[in-house]
């Protein structure tokens, strides 16, 4: 009971801090919004295929094979933005740990009976629900843009309850995985400059080796191989299967969820160990 209360109190703290820092939420939202409103509108991959030499059927087949069943690039790419949001929104959880170290707040918490598990668990929970909320905002905005007559997200498959649950679980697992990664960095690294340098060194390669942005059919095979193990790709595939159908996928959505689960558990375990080590009495 006392452990639950400690966890709840620490989570409340994290959520209060988050609510009092709308700039952090705004920054997390700004980048995906810019991608949707500017990049997504300008980089309309579908128009590349409007050749007079292609019949409508050929054009559609070419689109589908490149975009794994998505009706247009924007729809394909907006599902990929969810992966992008999971990375950009969770990186703050690690940064907050470093600032709490600098301001002495973490030292204060460590001097209480709160365990490393309580401290880590509260930050992981608060850090994971934010990207889930942001991801749905991004998806909602992408659909709204289509309704406004711009390029937008067009969901062509009928999403079942199980499918919707798979989408939520995929976003949650991806957020847990990245929140764990950034928390372990936050507990290990002392200086914010070092942290942001390391985060930048991770973010871009993770995104650029995933299928979040590239049309799958346009990727070289070696990149496809790497991307198929990338957790961002796995999450994005779960979304795309549920939004556009599974015709172009080797496995069902649950299989990719399983891979994502393995990533999340692995990173969670590493982060737990590193947090425990960081919060143990210094030898």
């Amino acid at each position: 009971m006392s452990s639950v209360r400690r966890w709840a109190a620490l989570t409340r703290r994290e959520l209060l801090k988050l609510a009092r820092n709308p700039a952090a939420i705004g920054t997390s939202l700004l980048l995906p919004i810019l991608y949707l409103v500017l990049f997504g509108q300008g980089f309309n991959f579908s128009s590349f295929l409007s050749s007079p030499y292609l019949t409508p059927d050929q054009r559609l087949a070419l689109l589908h094979s490149n975009l794994l069943g998505a009706p247009d690039y924007f729809s394909y790419f907006s599902a990929g933005m969810v992966g992008f949001v999971a990375v950009t929104a969770t990186l703050f959880v690690g940064a907050n740990v470093i600032f709490d170290k600098l301001f002495g707040t973490l030292k204060r918490t460590s001097a209480t009976p709160a365990t490393a598990t309580d401290i880590f668990g509260a930050r992981l929970f608060a850090g994971s629900i934010q990207p889930v909320a942001l991801a749905f905002l991004v998806l909602g905005l992408a659909i709204l843009l289509g309704d406004l007559g711009l390029s937008g997200l067009h969901i062509t498959a009928s999403v079942s309850v199980v499918g919707a649950a798979e989408v939520v679980v995929a976003i949650l697992l991806l957020s847990v995985m990245f929140a764990s990664l950034f928390l372990s960095l936050g507990f290990t690294i002392e200086q914010p400059q070092t942290y942001f340098a390391v985060v930048n060194a991770i973010n871009l390669p993770v995104l650029l080796t995933s299928a979040a942005l590239y049309p799958w059919g346009a990727m070289p095979v070696w990149l496809q191989t790497i991307a198929s193990y990338n957790p961002v790709t796995l999450a994005v595939w779960v979304l795309r299967i549920n939004f556009f159908g599974d015709t172009y996928y080797t496995y069902a959505a649950w299989f990719y969820l399983l891979g994502l689960f393995a990533w999340a558990v692995g990173m969670f375990t590493v982060a737990t160990l590193l947090t425990r080590r960081a919060l143990a009495p210094r030898k």
Binding site: R6, L10, R13, L16, N21, A111, P281
Partner: protein
């Protein structure tokens, strides 16, 4: 009386070569205010960090409130309060939210939490600011909040690490008044580190002087001063009073008498008791006395005696600060505002 803190051969070496604490042994009795006095880098904070399980030792053992510090760090944290020298409260939360968080982490029963939080906010004069974010607090308010967080669970032993660092004399006097009152109310043991000599002198029941990681002297402030040979009574007789010197030397308790420029400096423990005897001896010899004064040795001199060097001014408050602090402290003890 039971010992609340016992340290035996406590050592801490950093990076394999820097000995911050070197075989420190001492005990603190229950209900005592025990001061660790020393210059910057002497090993005060490291010792405190070892006793509160923030650091693991290189060697030695310690118990606090009967618990082995290094075997039961989690249980220990439940029983002790810790006030750091810097502000550690969350600046993005209000004072009340910080206290509620601390109460939850220390396991203060849920139904008792609002009452306890209200009591502490009122007791530490933070009620009016309780709904404000801590980032808007003054230095003194932050210190008081820090103390409130440290005692929210009514700890049996309170550790204070340079708790008044950066406070003005009035703020320091107010802070110590609260500590004295809390100690009287709850009987908790207080272990504090300070490099303010006047604080150690005025607040502590016993003091350990630490230098280069080793304890060089322990005792009550009076005992430490007495080790210097006690008080100095300066006697200024009228006219030629050479006959007075042997009479002074013959008085019981007198350890030394030196004559200079027609005055005598008489060293003895308990100088206030000796003054009537000196007056009596002079009267018996028919020697009139123009003036007589008593000076007790200060902790500055004690520090010099045991560390071999003067207490550096940049490590402590200015002489004016000390005078103002002592005046405020004495006034607050007498209830004068």
């Amino acid at each position: 009386m039971v010992d609340a803190i016992v340290a035996e051969g406590l050592s801490k070496t950093f990076n394999g070569s820097v000995k911050a604490v070197d075989g420190v042994s001492f005990s603190v009795r229950e209900g005592e205010i025990y001061g660790f006095l020393g210059p910057n880098g002497a090993g005060k904070t490291t010792t405190l960090s070892l006793l509160t399980a923030v650091l693991g030792p290189t060697a030695g053992q310690a118990t606090v409130d009967g618990l082995d510090v290094f075997r039961h760090p989690h249980d220990l944290k439940q029983r002790i309060g810790l006030v750091f020298q810097e502000s550690t409260a969350d600046q993005d939360l209000t004072g009340r939210e910080n206290l509620e968080l601390a109460a939850a982490l220390f396991g203060v029963p849920l139904r008792d939490t609002p009452k306890r939080v209200d009591y502490l906010l009122s007791r530490l004069a933070l009620s009016e600011a309780s709904e404000r974010l801590v980032k808007t607090y003054s230095g003194g308010m932050r210190r008081r909040l820090e103390l409130a967080v440290g005692i929210v669970h009514s700890p049996r032993v309170l550790f204070l690490d340079e708790p008044t660092l950066g406070l003005d004399p009035q703020g320091r006097a107010g802070f110590w008044k609260i500590i004295q009152e809390l100690r009287q109310e709850s009987g908790m043991t207080v272990f504090l580190t300070t490099h303010y000599l006047d604080e150690a002198d005025g607040m502590c029941d016993r003091i350990a002087i630490i230098d280069h990681g080793k304890i060089v002297a322990t005792g009550t402030p009076s005992e430490l001063k007495d080790r210097l040979g006690g008080d100095v009574v300066t006697v200024r007789p009228l006219g030629n009073a050479a006959a007075l010197e042997p009479a002074l030397k013959a008085l019981p308790g007198v350890t030394a008498v030196t004559a200079q420029d027609g005055t005598f400096r008489v060293k003895c423990p308990g100088g206030d008791v000796l003054i009537p005897k000196i007056v009596g001896a002079a009267t018996a010899l028919g020697i009139p006395i123009a003036g007589i004064s008593l000076r007790r040795p200060s902790l500055d001199e004690v520090f010099l005696e045991f560390t071999g060097r003067e207490y550096r001014e940049d490590e402590g408050p200015t002489a004016t600060d000390r005078a103002v602090f002592l005046t405020r402290f004495q006034q607050s003890r007498r209830g004068i505002r």
